[in-house]
Amino acid sequence: MNMYLHELKSLRKSTIIWVCAMITIALMYLSLYPAIYRDGAHFKDMLAGYPASIRAMLGVTVDSVTSLLGFYSMILAFVVLCGGVQAMNLGMTILSKETRERTAEFLLVKPVSRTAVVTAKVLAALTVLLVTDVVYYAVASAIAFMVRQSSYSGGLFFMINVTILFVQLIFFAIGAVVSVFFDRLRSVLPVSLGTVFGCYIIGALIAAGKDDWARFISPFRYFDYPSIIGSSRYETPYLITGAVIVVVSIVTCYFVYARKDIHAIS
């Protein structure tokens, strides 16, 4: 419990910053919504003028773009991107910072097992992600409610927002498993930014084509908003793939971290 609380405390500041960033994105774009709704026809014409592949990359669906959920799901991509970077960063630093900041000789000589250390840290990180998403969801709901032009499904709004957490869990797990193998990285930000943006761009490029199997490559494409809004459910194969990535990565993390050498200052 003490390790868990210590981690939460040390993650406090960065969490606040990430939440603010995500809320800012939502606020900026959602505040445009009333204007776009009013000029719906013009806006649709303008978007229709874009090549179909560009629209697909940007996640734009012309027909639904003037509905609140349609518009929101377009901007949600940027929020998910932001959340993905946060999660991967968290995953990459949560264990490796002890080695990088040379505090391992403090923590890992305490009368606790490595497994307990991993558990405390993973739980703290999951708490942080959950808090981030709950706060973001509360604020985004309020903004959406204020800018709405007609009624919309709160259930679907919730469902598409939950995908932030799903994508974050995947990137967190990937980050954590990468960090136990490469804990001597000087700086993790380039790696996490590179991976997450890489996945995002690949996801956008895949979206231009319509191959279903290619969607497995990028976690950003596991959740297709038009399809969720249309069917009110997540696509099971991608949900399962995401869950497998998370479970395998975290289990590997435990296994490797418990048995690895914690190297001295290099």
């Binding site: 000789e105 403090f106 097992s113 914690i262 001295a264």
Partner: protein
């Protein structure tokens, strides 16, 4: 009972040598010195003992148990690493409280006592502390839970001489209270003053494990000779002579063996001055460590 049992410990980092076939037993209540130059394998041995790294072969146990399979044995261990690093943005007292929280007992009184002894300001932020003051935080942190085994890795670097003395007094009083001390250092003076037994490590191997007193006696003599005329080099050409420095009329060397042999040899030449001293540990140490010695 042996507090520390290291048996045939071998550790390779990939192909790089860590330590080879190290065996050390440390008895309860003793102050054990572990001496070697930088890179000899002192920290590797300690880190394996604490369960930070895994042995390639052999075992390292504390209170009869391995730290990797029984992490709870570290409950009674206090460790001061050679370089201390702590979490950013914490005050000294926060860090010490966090440290204490792992031991399930109230250490507040002891923290205050130790801070008083080491002259440490608990309210300061750790980031703002000098290297020496960080070291003090490390010392308090290592001792606040009243450990039965204290492991010190190069403990005095960064401390001023006055503080070093205070520190050694503190360790001595912990030892009187029953704590076993494992002291790693390359500074011989500190080991010489405190330790009952020492192990010398060189290039990853233990080359000597002996009582402090035996090590100093051990028939080693520092002999200085001054001749009336230039000394014949061949007279020192005998077994037991090492570290020979021969310059004209004077010669000095370490001698190990029957003292009569060297006196008989010296008697064959005209000597104007002769001194035979106990070598200090530094010299013994250099003898063991010099590549040809």
């Amino acid at each position: 009972m042996n507090v520390i049992e290291i048996k045939n410990l071998t550790k390779y980092y990939g192909k790089a040598r860590g330590v080879i076939d190290v065996s050390i037993d440390v008895e309860q209540g003793e102050i054990f010195g572990f001496i070697g130059p930088n890179g000899a394998g002192k920290s590797t041995t300690i880190r394996t003992l604490l369960g930070l790294i895994y042995p390639t072969r052999g075992s390292a146990k504390i209170f009869g148990k391995s730290c990797t399979t029984n992490p709870e044995v570290r409950e009674d261990v206090g460790y001061l690493p050679s370089e201390v690093f702590y979490y950013d943005g914490m005050r000294v007292i926060d860090l010490l409280r966090y440290s204490a929280s792992f031991y399930g007992k109230d250490c507040t009184k002891r923290i205050n006592e130790l801070a008083e002894i080491m002259d440490l300001d608990l309210k300061r932020r750790i980031d703002d502390l000098s290297f020496g003051n960080k070291k003090k935080v490390g010392i308090v942190q290592g001792l606040l839970h009243g450990p039965k085994l204290i492991i010190l890795d190069e403990p005095t670097t960064g401390l001023d001489p006055l503080m070093q003395q205070t520190f050694f007094d503190l360790i001595a009083s912990e030892n009187k209270k029953g704590a076993t001390v494992f002291l790693s250092s390359h500074i011989l003076r500190e080991v010489q003053k405190m330790c009952e037994r020492v192990a010398l490590i060189k290039d990853g191997r233990i080359i000597k494990l002996e009582r402090m007193s035996a090590l100093q006696e051990n028939n080693f003599k520092r002999i200085k000779v001054e001749g009336l005329s230039d000394l014949d080099k061949t007279i020192f050409d005998m077994p037991g002579v090492s570290k020979l420095e021969n310059g004209g009329k004077t010669a000095s060397f370490l001698y190990r063996g029957d003292i009569n042999n060297v006196i008989r040899k010296l008697a064959q030449t005209e000597v104007s001055n002769l001194s035979i001293d106990e070598p200090d540990l530094e010299e013994v140490f250099m003898h063991y460590y010099s590549k040809d010695g």
